[in-house]
């Protein structure tokens, strides 16, 4: 048999998922639309952001929403040198665990910075809102160094 041509083509597999948010994540997203960030208070007094539906210690249902600050500190981060299509930026940026003022756990989001060397753990950051908010995590466009 003669050697065949190399046949190759682009192929996209798509899953058009929709998710129900439930009352707690739904409240979090609704508050984001109003440019506010809320967490929820656990039985041990910790404020958990984003809020969770059940207490991590007692498994009781949680309902005590608490608004937290729009500034916080970087707990850890990963610098993305080569962003991919699905990433929030075309230029290099950081994924970071950010502990917001008034929160007791860190939340993941992206940090826009000019260079990796600008970012350190412990650095203060501030939420930057999207021009139009729709009730989605991307309503916080990113965090920027203060």
């Amino acid at each position: 048999m003669p050697p065949p041509e190399v046949l190759s083509q682009a192929f996209e597999l798509g899953f058009t998922y929709t998710r129900s948010t439930g009352p707690v994540v739904g409240r979090f997203l609704t508050e984001l639309r109003d440019r506010k960030i809320v967490g929820i208070q656990g039985s041990d007094g910790r404020v958990i952001v984003p809020p969770m539906e059940y207490d991590p210690v007692t498994a009781e249902e949680l309902s005590e929403f608490v608004e937290v600050g729009q500034q916080g500190e970087i707990v850890s981060f990963a610098w993305v040198k080569e962003p991919r299509d699905a990433h929030p930026f075309d230029q290099p940026f950081a994924w970071a665990m950010i502990k917001l003022d008034g929160a007791d756990v860190a939340m993941i989001h992206c940090v826009s910075a000019a260079a990796e060397s600008d970012i350190t753990t412990g650095a203060r950051v501030q939420a930057v809102w999207a021009e139009q908010t729709v009730g989605f995590i991307t309503d916080i466009r990113c965090f920027e160094l203060v």
Binding site: M1, P3, P4, E5, V6, L7, S8, Q9, A10, F11, E12, L13, G14, F15, T16, Y17, T18, R19, S20, T21, G26, R27, L29, T30, E31, R33, D34, D85, G135, F136
Partner: protein, 171 residues
């Protein structure tokens, strides 16, 4: 919380996975033949089974399958399902039939569409033949065959499905 706008209760979170699919030697050879309107398989030198579409090796023996075998575009229904639920972005409107079909000369089935049939009368062992697109439209693709349709031939007994010679019932 805002009172004038409704609470968020659901979100759209689609996932799109972008692949570059490379066919590999045996499927590329197979597709080159399909582009010419010919179905081919490859025979295992160990067990003699003919695979269509070929993967380049025998799953049972682990041997490379290098002998190309020309197959018929007549086939036998090995199994089938009636699809009743629409699939997003699929232009084919249900109900329609997806079948495992064994082409004459092959021992294993591939999946294709059946049409020009009464769905409720489709059955295992039924004889079908490929309905090809017009030659100008042939590409490196199995949908050069629009679908398989029933032909007026005797059913193949279950024990002979997957053992029909390339000449079908005519031998």
């Amino acid at each position: 919380m805002s009172q004038e706008r409704e609470m968020i209760t659901g979100i759209d979170v689609p996932i799109y996975l972008q692949y570059k699919f490379t066919a590999g030697t045996a499927p590329a050879r197979f597709l080159s033949q399909v582009k010419k309107g010919v179905l081919t398989g490859q025979r295992c030198p160990g067990c003699g089974n003919v695979y269509c579409p070929p993967r380049g090796s025998c799953a049972a023996c682990g041997l490379p399958t290098e002998e190309e075998v020309v197959l018929s575009d007549k086939a036998t229904v090995q199994s089938f399902t009636i699809v009743a639920i629409p699939i997003p972005n699929n232009p084919i409107q249900p109900p329609y039939i997806i079948a495992n079909l064994v082409p004459d000369g092959s021992n294993l089935s591939f999946i294709h569409l059946m049409s020009e049939c009464v769905n409720e009368e489709v059955h295992i062992g039924q004889r079908v033949q490929a309905l090809w697109k017009s030659e100008e439209e042939w590409d490196y693709a199995m949908d050069n065959i629009r679908y398989f349709k029933p032909i007026d031939e005797a059913d193949v007994p279950v024990e002979r499905i997957g053992h029909m010679p390339v000449t079908g019932w005519e031998d």
